[in-house]
């Protein structure tokens, strides 16, 4: 336990502070940068602009390089040189004795910009003659990727009806309360640098920094302390990471940068436009799916954000047994700020596009929203299931999960309440959302790895130290891993210390992402613990003069079949000190490192060129009950339920905490969180008054249910639990609002459903109903 020490709590002798000067324009040429005014300010130690930084630093290697997948790849600099391609792009940096001085001095830097016309709208960006975001690209397109299977044209031909739904998902992000922070400490004695940082993936970042800084990896140490929320945003590729290391190197003093909220809000995600067409039969059977969608990924970045757009298509058609598919991604660049990874990693948008479309189809066909889903779910005896995009779903019981969610919310009772309320002039709605969330992902040729490693060390006193290659974004996986090791070793939980996030002490690993940490961190720690346990048992057996198989270790007490027992500490001490007699049966120390590499992943493309990057397919159903005030457009959530299949649950409190958090994300995204821009691409959303996350008073009661189908290819049947839920819960909210307003004919598929938008949709529906009456 103890107190949490965050990155910003670290301060070192001679500590300096940096402020980054950012572009006020979405697109401009930089004609000159004059830093002399800043250098004159008392307390300023160093000022650097783009030209100098470009000489001292290499470009930032991409977390996931589009070129590896046949796309366009841009050179990403820590500071802009010659031109800027988005609002907020770093242009210069000031290092001073304190933060206020650095900020003040930055205002004394004169940048001569020649402003050019930006392109903000992705549909404009792909038109001929659109301004180029990246000057040497021939199109504003990272890549176009088809996800096609079967014969979609034939499916649409055979359909009774085609239901078309335009789903617009806006730009919303994740906002950890702890913003990004980096503190670089250069050690001239060893010519090495230590970066204390809000870092999700320490070892991969070390590799990236070695390239940027032109230093070998063994001269770089990353220390990632306790993190105050990450959600993907703290995956690396950010300019400030390499920049702080360089500034520490040139000043030979520690340099710290703390992102402010306005800067944190510059990191975008999720903005996509879908045109979903469902080929359906009158009985609700879905025969085919067509969806040519556009993702506005903003300006190029070295961060892994753009990959979200890819995952949206790869996860189609989610939990539904549709095989004839014509899905096409256009990942477009514009002069909006860049994306980074964001909880759900694109799979939340799949859920939104599918669930809003299915709700629309159910209404058009006059079928119950539950029935249309039940009719089209993949059946539980079809697993492992080969998806039309090449994924291999490990296990699931989607119908069973939805039934549990309906039961948890009290579906039948709410239907009765809805009918009663309608008589009283109140508008209650019931909405369902389903989300399939592939987790534990791994991409070939990238540091997005599917496996990970842990070391288990037992000291002479019997205390246990577990060092993992995985890290925690604050989700509590060290607790889950400690529980697993306690069980495997047979020792008390409080004797275990889990160490994470330090490249010097921990095994080479890939940190946290994609709901992987308990699957591979826990799996590898279990294997290592089993090896160490075998050694302890061997020596204990020698001490107790018993056979290995007759010795048990439970909660730190070692007993033999004959009834003799001995303390763990005594055995461990013997392991270290009696290597030439009783402990000669083992090789000291009591230490093992193991790797867990889940199955099911297929990186060798199949005959269609498809890979399966995921070993684990969590899934969940969400039901939202809302009431709409038709005078104002305000939506109040009355009740919420979720049933979750994350495989075997190690710690229910942690899993439920993750689920509730994701639901709050989903509600915020559906209702109010929105990053907005003016016509020139300048960001208007700057703080938490503008970026409206739900307050606790906006949250309904959430009833949670578990419906586990164990994963056959992971330790104990685990699936990821940390990432799922944003899209499914957002879809449930949107569907509940449309359901509440069905008597008006309202069907809103552009997010977020702010009160003004809901009100406008009601006015619009009333008007068109009125004009229809007049016409008749």
């Amino acid at each position: 336990m103890g107190e949490a020490v965050y990155t910003n709590d670290f301060n070192f002798p001679g500590q300096l502070h940096a402020h980054v000067l950012r572009s006020p324009h979405a697109a401009a040429k930089i004609k000159s940068v004059d830093v002399s005014g800043a250098e004159k300010v008392s307390g300023v130690v160093r000022v650097m602009e783009g030209a100098e930084a470009a000489e001292l630093l290499n470009p930032i290697p991409h977390y996931i390089d589009p070129a590896v997948f046949g796309g366009r790849s841009a050179k990403i600099r820590c500071l802009a040189k010659d031109h800027v391609w988005c609002f907020g792009q770093p242009v210069a940096v000031v290092v001073a004795e304190d933060k206020r001085t650095a900020r003040y001095a930055a205002s004394r830097i004169v940048v001569d910009y020649e402003v050019t016309t930006p392109v903000i709208d992705p549909e404009e960006a792909v038109k001929d003659g659109a301004p180029k975001v990246v000057p040497d690209w021939d199109a504003n397109m990272i890549m176009q990727v088809p996800f096609a299977n079967g014969d979609a044209d034939a499916a649409f031909e055979a359909a009774d009806r085609v239901i078309k739904t335009d789903v617009k998902v806006h730009r919303f992000s994740t906002q950890p309360i702890e913003t990004r922070t980096y503190n670089a400490v250069y050690d001239a004695g060893t010519e090495s640098v230590t970066l204390y940082g809000t870092v999700q993936n320490p070892h991969p970042l070390r590799n990236v920094l070695s390239k940027i800084l032109r230093m070998p990896e063994n001269k770089i140490r990353i220390h990632a302390p306790v993190i105050g929320g990450a959600f993907g945003m703290k995956m690396h590729g950010h300019p400030e990471e390499g920049l702080m290391c360089l500034l520490s190197k040139v000043t030979k003093r520690p340099v710290k940068w703390v992102e402010d909220r306005e800067e944190c809000l510059l990191i975008g995600a999720r903005e996509q436009v879908h045109s979903v067409e469902l080929a359906v039969k009158d009985d609700g059977t879905i025969l085919g799916l067509r969806d040519h969608y556009i993702a506005n990924t903003g300006a190029p970045s070295a961060c892994p954000g753009w990959g979200m757009a890819f995952l949206t298509g790869l996860t189609m058609p989610g939990p539904y047994a549709v095989t004839d598919l014509d899905v096409m991604l256009s990942a477009v660049v514009t002069n909006k700020p860049s994306w980074n990874a964001s909880r759900g990693y694109g799979k939340e948008v799949t859920a939104l596009a599918l669930e809003l479309s299915i709700e629309h189809a159910a209404r058009e066909l006059g079928i119950d929203p539950v029935d249309i889903r039940m009719k089209n779910f993949i059946a539980k005896d079809q697993f492992p299931y080969d998806s039309p995009t090449g994924l291999i779903y490990d296990s699931g019981d989607y119908a069973g999960v939805l039934e549990k969610a309906l039961e948890a919310v009290g579906y039948e009772d709410w239907k009765a309440q809805q009918a009663q309320a309608r008589k009283e002039g109140r508008y209650i709605g019931i909405g369902i959302g389903y989300e399939l969330t592939p987790e534990g992902g791994t991409l070939p040729g990238t540091m997005v790895a599917g496996y990970d490693s842990s070391s288990v060390r037992v000291g002479p006193d019997g205390s246990v130290r577990v060092l993992t290659g995985v890290t925690t974004p604050g989700s509590g996986n060290p607790t889950g891993i400690a529980q697993i090791v306690a069980d495997e070793l047979g020792v008390p939980l409080d004797s275990i210390e889990v160490v994470q996030g330090d490249t010097t002490t921990c095994p080479y690993g890939f940190g946290n992402s994609s709901g992987r940490s308990t699957i591979v961190g826990g799996g590898s720690a279990a294997k290592a613990a089993q090896e160490v346990r075998a050694k302890i048992i061997k020596v204990a057996a020698a001490l107790l003069q018993a056979k290995d198989e007759d010795v048990t270790m439970v909660n730190g007490v070692i007993s033999s079949k004959g009834g003799a027992s001995i303390d763990l500490e005594e055995v461990c001490y013997a392991c270290y000190t009696r290597a030439y007699d009783v402990a000669s049966v083992i090789e000291p120390p009591l230490e093992a490192t193991a790797t867990f590499k889940p199955g099911l992943v297929r990186h060798t493309p199949n005959e269609k060129g498809q890979i399966n990057p995921y070993p684990s397919y969590s899934n969940a159903a969400y039901v939202a009950i809302s009431e709409v005030d038709v005078d104002t457009g305000q939506v109040k959530l009355l009740k919420f339920s979720a049933a979750h299949d994350c495989g075997k649950v190690i710690n229910p409190i942690l899993v439920e905490g993750q689920a509730c958090g994701a639901i709050m994300f989903g509600i915020g995204g559906a209702m109010s969180e929105n990053i907005e821009f003016d016509a020139n691409g300048r960001q208007l959303t700057k703080n938490f008054m503008d970026y409206v996350m739900p307050r606790i008073g906006d949250m309904p009661h959430v009833a949670l249910a578990h419906h586990d189908s164990p994963n056959p290819v992971t330790y104990m049947g685990l699936k990821g639990a940390g990432e799922a839920g944003v899209g499914g819960s957002a879809a449930a909210v949107v569907n509940s609002v449309n359901n509440a307003l069905s008597s008006f004919g309202v069907m809103m598929t552009e997010l977020p459903l702010t009160a003004p938008r809901v009100w406008a949709a009601i006015q619009e529906a009333k008007k068109s109903a009125g004009s229809q009456r007049e016409g008749a």
Binding site: V41, R100, T101, R103, Y104, D260, E262, D631, T632, G633, Q634, M671, S672, E676, L684, T685, N687, M689, D690, V692, P694, R695, I696, G697, D698, T754, A755, P756, W759, A760
Partner: protein
């Protein structure tokens, strides 16, 4: 704009007046800090001089004098909510102070004076004060003048000026039997309002004898619509009168705000909704 600001802390009203009179426009008065400090922390404001009036005791507290209620400019929202005087004599104001966003911390630090002089269109206190015909005492050039709040609120771009200091708010008690309501529409719990309305109604049997209605958060300054609605006098409250009132209020909002709290069309419509709801609630409460 200065990296090394000067900090002044006068201990009396006279001292505060002298300090303010001697300074240029770079001076920034700070009381509860709820308006100033976020802007300073954000780097939007870098005042040369802070004048902290927090120690000027004359500016704090709620008293009764000459048949009126005097509320010192430094009185925090929590005290306005909890005082027996405000609760019994101007319950509309006590209630409105409880609706200020930001939670306990803001209620404990934010002051009635700061709320008024910031002239922020989305704040909660002024609509009720206007409906109550409040007056304010302002210290300038060594003298204290009493002016009506509605005169002060005519122009949002000037405010009081950095050499002047709001001393207190003076309000007459609400007439006994009057009904009142403050209706605030928010798009999320704890946030700013998107529209609000303060109403005070006196009834004559089942007819409306008089009506004060001020609508806030929909235009740059709160709008007193009592005149516009004078045709309600002598009428019985009904669905059709409610609809007519709603339409009249919407029409009266000619230049609605369009911001993160909602677009102009919606704000204009919501002005009508909160007005109708406030008047209905006030009538229900009137005796």
């Amino acid at each position: 704009m200065s990296l090394y600001p000067v900090f002044a802390r006068p201990r009396s009203l006279d001292q505060a007046g002298e300090v303010l009179g001697s300074l240029s426009s770079g001076a920034m008065i700070i009381a509860g800090g709820q308006e100033v400090m976020p802007s300073v922390n954000y780097g939007m404001l870098m005042p040369e001089v802070y004048v902290d009036i927090g120690q000027v005791k004359e500016l704090r507290g709620i008293t009764e004098a000459d048949g009126a209620i005097h509320i010192g400019a430094l009185t925090v929202h929590r005290d306005v909510q909890d005082s027996d005087v405000t609760r019994s004599q101007v319950p509309l104001l006590a209630y409105a102070a409880a609706q200020v966003g930001g939670g306990w911390q803001v209620h404990n630090r934010g002051t009635i004076g700061g709320n008024i002089v910031s002239m922020h269109p989305l704040y909660d206190i002024v609509p009720s004060l206007l409906a109550l015909d409040a007056e304010v005492d302002v210290l300038k050039d060594g003298t204290v003048d009493r002016v009506s709040l509605s005169d002060l609120m005519k122009d949002a771009s000037h405010g009081l000026g950095s050499e002047a200091l709001l001393v207190r708010v003076v309000i007459k008690p609400m007439p006994s039997g009057a009904g009142w309501a403050y209706e605030k529409l928010k798009i999320t719990a704890g946030g700013y309002g998107s529209a609000n309305a303060a109403a005070i109604v006196a009834m004559d049997g089942d007819k409306i004898a008089s009506l004060r209605l001020v609508v806030g958060a929909v235009s740059e300054l709160p709008q007193d619509l009592s005149q516009v609605l004078s045709n309600c006098f002598g009428q019985v409250w009904s669905d059709s009168l409610a609809s007519a009132l709603e339409a009249k209020v919407c029409d009266a909002i000619s230049n609605p705000l369009s911001d993160h709290q909602g677009d102009g069309n919606w704000r204009k419509a919501m002005a009508g909704v909160v007005a109708r709801r406030a008047v209905a609630a006030a009538i229900a409460k009137a005796r």
